[in-house]
Symmetry: C2
Subunit: 548 residues, 2 copies
């Protein structure tokens, strides 16, 4: 395997651990907990794993003698920087407790558990992956562990391998499912613990007990690096507006964090657009006005950040898409039979007046996309819509109109970018390398202490790693009941951007100035070896939230 110089140098990095995890560890139980909402329903659904105490690890004087234990680990869902360090922390953690402990990785996600597809992760394998990005050590997958048959199939292989505990590294859904699995195995008295770890670059798995999900830090820094480079280009060439879409369908944390790091002229925040009931035209007008104002000051250039999920947060677009879904479900064949050039008018004729007007206002390509690309359930594939091009095209049309009316005299030319895959598998920053390793180590300690239905937690993360607080949080504590595919289900609350939270408030207080001035900040590439203020700072989001 050919390795880059950085891969080789970085392999030697020893991630930092909280003080409490450095030597012998004891678990201290706090008070009993409740779910954040719907306590009665959740309690009924999780009789064996509800109400458990928050756990905090403290340094102990002497080591507990533990028998060797076999542990399984699964990577679930989209990649996030640091996954390999969770696994190496878990490995080192269980080996420290007993050198004969073994770690098994299930291949390509939860499907590997169900299909009995696994491999033992030995020291030589682990050493190849320390401090590296990606999930390629065992791969990941999107199979959902939801059904009793899956739980039973999993139990077969866990029993066969003598596995005492399973660690599931995933986002909110995967951790919800981890808890359901923990409850099931507890109810069946199978003697198998299940522990979750908070992963997602989207940053939407966090709450009072989980300060941040891993990978968010590295992914945002990687995106901010290239956004900063584009801003510098933008400010040098002075002739383009760059429309940059950023991954994150359910929440705008990534766009907001990148805005805090790079100070672009515009950043859209889906949660605000929804709360203010803004229309697509409102958004286009806002961007066009900013373009016009900057043009009036001689600046025919700028940078716009757009969260991937935007379209689904625009109430009017949501209604349009819902009507299109219903209409095409009933009349899809009729529509397909119509000549291509007549399809647009056909749709406009069939929609309600409000939706017809919106549909008619969309650029042709996007309008077509809304009726053609449908997922297996017959729904519009919103993720395929190139929102960055949709917006720049509509802004261009509006500016041309304003030019005719004499309200605008600048030049408008756009470039488009979409960043997602560029950062999900970046090598973890020092923060993510340390945080993930500590999460894996904490998971090992939770297992050693017989816990199940817990998520590993590391808090006080804006302090130096030494002072971090490691422990575990009952997953039921983060749950509420939500409607999913028509059914009420217990799920971990997804954390959207809070409009009264410190990160958004900071952004809101500065955005008018950033729109007008060229106040770009250029974060540059993630550094691993330099001064601590360059290498070890966590996200602006985390700093602002924790300072609150």
């Amino acid at each position: 395997m050919t390795k880059s110089a950085l891969q080789i140098a970085r392999a030697a990095y020893q991630p930092k651990l909280p003080k409490a995890l450095q030597g012998h560890v004891k678990a201290v139980d706090g008070a009993a907990t409740q779910s954040v909402a719907d306590q009665e329903e959740i309690k009924k659904l999780f009789p064996n794993t509800y109400g458990m105490p928050v756990v905090k690890f403290e340094a102990a004087d002497k080591a507990e003698q533990l028998p060797a234990m076999n542990v399984g680990v699964i990577l679930s869902g989209g990649q996030a920087p640091g996954g390999h360090n969770v696994i190496s922390g878990l490995f080192d953690g269980i080996k420290k407790l007993n050198k004969d402990s073994r770690l098994y990785g299930f291949i390509l996600g939860p499907g590997g558990l169900v299909d009995h597809n696994y491999k033992e992760l030995t020291a030589d394998i682990i050493d190849e992956y320390r401090n590296t990005g990606g999930f390629d050590i065992i791969g990941s997958g999107r199979t959902k562990l939801e059904k009793v048959e899956q739980f039973e199939k999993g139990y077969e292989i866990l029993k066969e391998l003598g596995i005492k505990a399973l660690v599931i590294i995933g986002g909110d859904d995967s951790n919800t499912n981890a808890c359901v699995l923990a409850e099931y195995y507890a109810a069946q008295k199978y003697g198998i613990q299940v522990i979750g770890c908070p992963k997602t670059i989207d940053g939407d798995l966090k709450n009072d007990m989980i300060e941040t999900s891993f990978g968010f830090d590295t992914a945002c820094k990687t995106y901010s690096e290239v956004i900063g480079n584009i801003e510098r280009d933008c400010n040098s060439a002075r002739k383009y507006w760059h429309f940059i879409k950023l991954m994150g369908r359910s929440a705008s944390h990534i766009a907001l964090e990148c805005a805090l790091q790079t100070q672009p002229n515009i950043c859209l925040v889906s949660e605000e657009i929804e709360a203010k009931n803004m229309s697509l035209d409102d958004i286009v007008t806002y961007i066009a006005q900013t373009v016009a104002d900057r043009a009036a000051a001689g600046n025919n250039f700028g940078t716009v950040l757009i969260p991937e999920g935007l379209i689904e947060f625009i109430p009017a677009m949501k209604r349009l898409i819902a009507e299109l879904n219903d209409f095409l479900a009933a009349h899809g064949e009729e529509y397909a039979a119509i000549e291509r050039s007549a399809q647009r008018d056909y749709i406009i004729g069939k929609l309600s007046a409000e939706n017809a007007a919106i549909y008619a206002s969309l650029p042709e390509g996007v309008a077509r996309q809304l009726t053609l690309d449908r997922d297996p359930h017959g729904n519009v594939q919103v993720s395929l819509i190139e929102t960055e091009k949709l917006l720049s095209e509509m802004v261009g049309v509006k500016l041309a109109q304003w030019k005719k009316e004499g309200k605008y005299t600048g030049k408008f030319a756009a470039q488009h970018h979409f960043f997602g895959y560029e950062g999900r598998c970046a090598a973890p920053s020092n923060f993510d390398a340390d945080y993930c390793y500590s999460l894996g180590y904490a998971a090992a300690a939770l297992i050693a202490n017989g816990k199940t239905g817990y998520m590993a937690s590391v808090r006080n993360t804006i302090a130096p790693a030494e002072e971090w607080i490691a422990g575990g949080v009952p997953i039921t504590m983060m749950m509420n009941m939500e409607r999913r595919n028509g059914e009420l289900k217990p799920v971990i609350q997804k954390a959207l951007v809070k409009l009264d939270g410190a990160p958004f408030k900071y952004f809101e207080a500065h955005r008018a100035e950033w729109a007008k001035e060229t106040a770009y900040v250029y974060p540059g590439p993630i550094q691993y070896f330099g001064p601590t203020e360059v290498c070890d700072q966590s996200t602006r989001t985390l700093q602002l939230e924790q300072a609150q």
Copy 2:
């Protein structure tokens, strides 16, 4: 101005200089030179600047006493990392010779000289921009300095400011024009020297005397960082083929260098495609075959690098585009009047048989683009063609055909990326920071020694900076006569990828293995503070070429 932690830390970096430039400097003239070709014509066109010796700087025992001198500087064309360091090296160089020397920057490129738009670059301004990316200190522009009126307008302001020498930082065209200007001012006996500096991320300004253009190193490392991240994602999710287009229209150096750094499954090299007279279908078949072979081994994923200029290197596409240009120049209105849905068939009916067949094979969107988007001269805007999508769409069609024929049984899903603006303004790597600073310093020394029509040169660049050889090369030495817009002109030869050169040979020897295996290398982000093997290595291209 808000600055990132890295911006602040990086400002303190002192770029390294070749030993000969560190103290007092003397210029040693070599033998007289000739142009690389067309000696008689070039000599006739450049009577005052032809045949001058190559200059090499050596350490001198004592300082020459020099009067203060005013110098002008211009950034020309596309941004490249390190431009600010050329300027700071030039500033420090002329200040060292005489502390009363002054530096003037012309604003937004060569146009600033003609329009008398300039500002003095004082120490406090220079200090804000040391080791930063971008050209924003004075901006850049694409005005071509070609006409006597421009030269005379420029002379007015140069005379007014008492400027003794003008430094033009640009690519092959800008340096050609710098030489024409040097010749003109020499012929007119205006007493103004003109010095060029080799800039371009494309890497196509190099020859026996110029080892590399600045910015190529940083840009390629930035692209390779994100390509590596995508490869790691690709190898973790194991479900996508990533088609990645890379900037560089005239040559494939960037794609090739990124391939050497990241070892993707496929990298197209335009120069090879032209040399082998490959058709679009040949390329599509080559990619599809690689996809099919990997699928047969269970790997439905991969990474493809595509140089931006590909289409123009495919001989058959060139012929198609030429015929389309001619046909639409004559029948553009007739074409535009035809109903949209009938346009494709109309064009197919009008083209020669060979071109009609190629046109008919193109996906609808691309075919339309070839007839609709035309530049002010009526030519197809090849740069707007999304080659990465064109190829993946055609590969998908071919694979679907092979599936029907039972020759292929895999899954094929594609993601698309285009990287250019992401790297042109990155903060310079240590290599580019040192190289650019040395070029600027060498330019100052050339000026002090009364040279004109020279390009600053720094050689032996794979050795530590101390051992670099600084000097100057007569620009006429790099020239030959080429047809441009129908006229024979003296120009600097553009350096395309040499198919018998060491970088391509290395790639050629390994690509079959990289196609089959998943041999990805993950270079990670540029590091400034770590071990020297991580921070100070130049490109693989340079290393392989110089080892030759």
